[in-house]
């Protein structure tokens, strides 16, 4: 009796050790490429091309970063310029798409009207259309609007492309706000605008955070539209197109490229870690509910 209980305890302990070991292994394999990127960014060039590569730089240097910052490495300007472009495009797109999708989600969650179901299904379908298929029409359209080589065109495209998913996500948040609250306020003589700002908006704010995160990441990562629209207008490049240009130029050195790509990646990674809890919950809810 005692021996079986002991062996059961040993078995459980072994199992826990094995599981933790597998956990550490999975984490390290997953982290390895990122560690390698950051490590290369800090290596002097003779260590990067060394015949016996090492995981961490023996003599860490900031040389690669300073080349990226003073613009020598890419030849098209300092990295801060492209940070500014990306930030401007992303923030503007997030604000516009949040405002528009909040209005639409109120319509869908609070009113019943004729084309409600068709509208929702249309949203589901259009968000599946691949960027590669849309890009021809988009390119022609924005060419005619004369908005190809500037940031305004990108802002409009990113804001609008975030709408279908944002409306789908926000709709659930609006639906959970009890109607009685709004009715009570209306009886007390509050106007529709007051009800919106004082009651609905604060209660839907967590949903707006979730959709903003989604819109932010889509815009910050977007590649094909920016690649096609911006062409040779170097000063309008967003970060991904800057890294691509730098990388595709040929004969470029890996140290500065990894430094640029680290600088592009780190903000979004830190952002993800901060909002981790909310993000996982929101995205899973989105995935499960459609």
């Amino acid at each position: 009796m005692i021996s079986t209980r002991l062996s059961a305890r040993t078995a459980r302990r072994t199992r826990r050790i094995v599981l933790n070991g597998v956990g550490v292994l999975v984490a390290l394999v997953t982290l390895f490429p990122i560690i390698w990127m950051v490590s290369t960014a800090f290596k002097p060039s003779q260590e990067i091309y060394s015949l016996t590569p090492s995981l961490l730089p023996a003599h860490p240097t900031l040389g690669n970063f300073s080349q990226v910052i003073n613009g020598k490495a890419s030849g098209i300007g300092t990295v801060w310029l492209f940070f500014r472009n990306s930030l401007a495009v992303t923030v503007a797109a997030v604000l516009i798409s949040s405002a528009i999708s909040l209005l639409a989600s109120v319509a869908v969650a609070r009113f019943s009207f004729r084309f409600r179901a068709s509208f929702l299904i249309m949203l589901l379908i259009v968000q599946m259309i691949p960027g590669q298929a849309l890009i021809i029409g988009l390119f022609r359209e924005f060419d005619q609007l004369n908005m190809l080589q500037n940031l305004l065109g990108l802002i409009i495209v990113y804001a609008a492309q975030a709408l279908p998913v944002s409306i789908w996500m926000l709709r659930n948040f609006v639906a959970t706000v009890p109607r009685e609250l709004e009715e009570a306020a209306a009886i007390d003589g509050a106007s529709a605008l007051t009800i919106f700002w004082r009651i609905l908006f604060p209660l839907v704010a967590p949903g707006l955070v979730a959709t903003s995160i989604f819109a932010f990441i889509t815009a910050y990562n977007e590649f094909i539209v920016a690649l096609t629209f911006l062409g040779q207008a170097h000063s309008t490049y967003t970060l991904p197109i800057y890294v691509t240009y730098f990388f595709g130029r040929g004969g470029a050195e890996w140290g500065p490229i990894m430094a640029a790509s680290t600088m592009y990646t780190i903000p979004v990674v830190i952002f993800f870690l901060i909002i981790r809890r909310r993000l996982v919950g929101g995205l899973v809810a989105g995935a499960v509910k459609g």
Partner: protein
């Protein structure tokens, strides 16, 4: 109190014909004709029309026209060519090659991602809170890495000139890695097989975390008593998964499967960057092929449009499955 009184009296003394009055009349109009929801939808519909519906319509139009370089420059008028672009596409060997590559790639990567993600999800569920937090944070980092950074990074890892993978393979014994001269092996431009091997590693690395986290969220909803009962009955983990976990998480798995198929069909950024832009035609997937047809000199919006339409229709078939499963789960309520 005094403040409210003053405000009330001010509102009360508004003369007729004031902005407020007109506002009230407009309000009555909105209420009587029940147009409030439509008004709220106008900006969203405008945006969607601008970046989805209009480009789609244009694409469909071009696919039946001879819209090429002379038409773009205005040297020749645009003419309708019926199904000409489609017959030309179906007669093109490159189209069938890129389609085959796209389908094969999805057929390999989707199961790999789902299995890897589900296994990590099951692992996360068994680990203690600290360890689980550490592993999921690591997975989150891979998932958060922007596609452009991930592609550049994997290009460097698999680079023939100082890349880590070639170095590691060249240090391994021949019986394990074959007699290929791995030092300086070019993964991305030698042919479709090595190129898509790199792409597979990259895409599985970026997309398994989402599956893992979604599976974990699903597992948290399974009542612990079910597992307890199975354990007392002495069921093996394999059996527990197929008899308890899988049936309960089936709706989640279905959505994840459909989303993965759609995402892996749509791969563009990573293949564009890893395979050297549009330089290696024998490594094209459908996305690269469309982009090349439409924009590489001489550009042809007609052929590109026809291809994009075919691609969209293929994806629409998958999407119908996704929409149906969403509607069946009551998503429209």
């Amino acid at each position: 109190m005094a403040d409210t009184a003053v405000q009330l009296s001010v509102t009360g003394t508004r003369a007729p014909g004031w902005r407020g009055d007109r506002g009230a009349r407009w309000g009555t109009f909105v209420r009587r004709h029940r147009i409030a929801p439509y008004l709220l939808l106008v900006p969203a519909l405008g945006g969607i029309a601008l970046v989805y519906l209009w480009p789609l319509a244009e694409m469909a139009l071009y696919s039946f026209q001879n819209y090429g370089l002379p038409q773009i420059t205005g040297a020749a008028p645009v003419q309708w060519v019926g199904f000409g672009n489609f017959t030309a596409t179906f007669a093109d060997a490159e189209f069938w090659l890129s389609l085959r590559i796209t389908v094969l790639f999805a057929a390999v990567v989707v199961p790999l991602t789902l299995v890897a993600g589900t296994l990590v999800g099951l692992l996360l569920n068994r680990l203690g809170p600290k360890m689980s937090g550490f592993v999921s944070a690591a997975a989150l980092l891979a998932w958060a890495t922007p596609p452009v950074s991930g592609s550049v990074l994997f290009y460097w890892l698999f680079n023939p000139d100082g890349g880590l993978v070639d170095w590691a393979l060249s240090k391994m014994p021949n019986w394990l890695v074959g007699s290929t001269d791995w030092a300086g092996y070019n993964w991305t431009t030698t042919g479709a097989l090595p190129a898509y091997t790199v792409l597979t590693v990259l895409v599985v690395w970026t997309s398994f975390p989402f599956i893992a986290v979604s599976t974990l969220a699903g597992l948290k909803t399974v009542p612990a008593e079910l597992y307890e009962a199975a354990r007392i009955d002495g069921a093996s983990p394999w059996r527990v998964f197929w008899r308890i976990t899988y049936p309960l998480l089936k709706p989640i798995f279905l959505v994840l499967l459909l989303l993965s198929v759609i995402w892996d069909f749509n791969i563009f950024t990573q293949s564009y960057l890893l395979f050297g832009g549009l330089a290696n035609r024998n490594e094209f997937n459908l996305g690269l092929y469309i982009y090349d047809k439409a924009f590489t000199f001489p550009p042809s919006y007609g052929l590109g449009g026809a291809l994009a339409l075919i691609f969209t229709l293929i994806l629409l078939i998958v999407t119908v499955g996704y929409v149906r499963s969403s509607v069946r789960q009551g998503a429209l309520a």
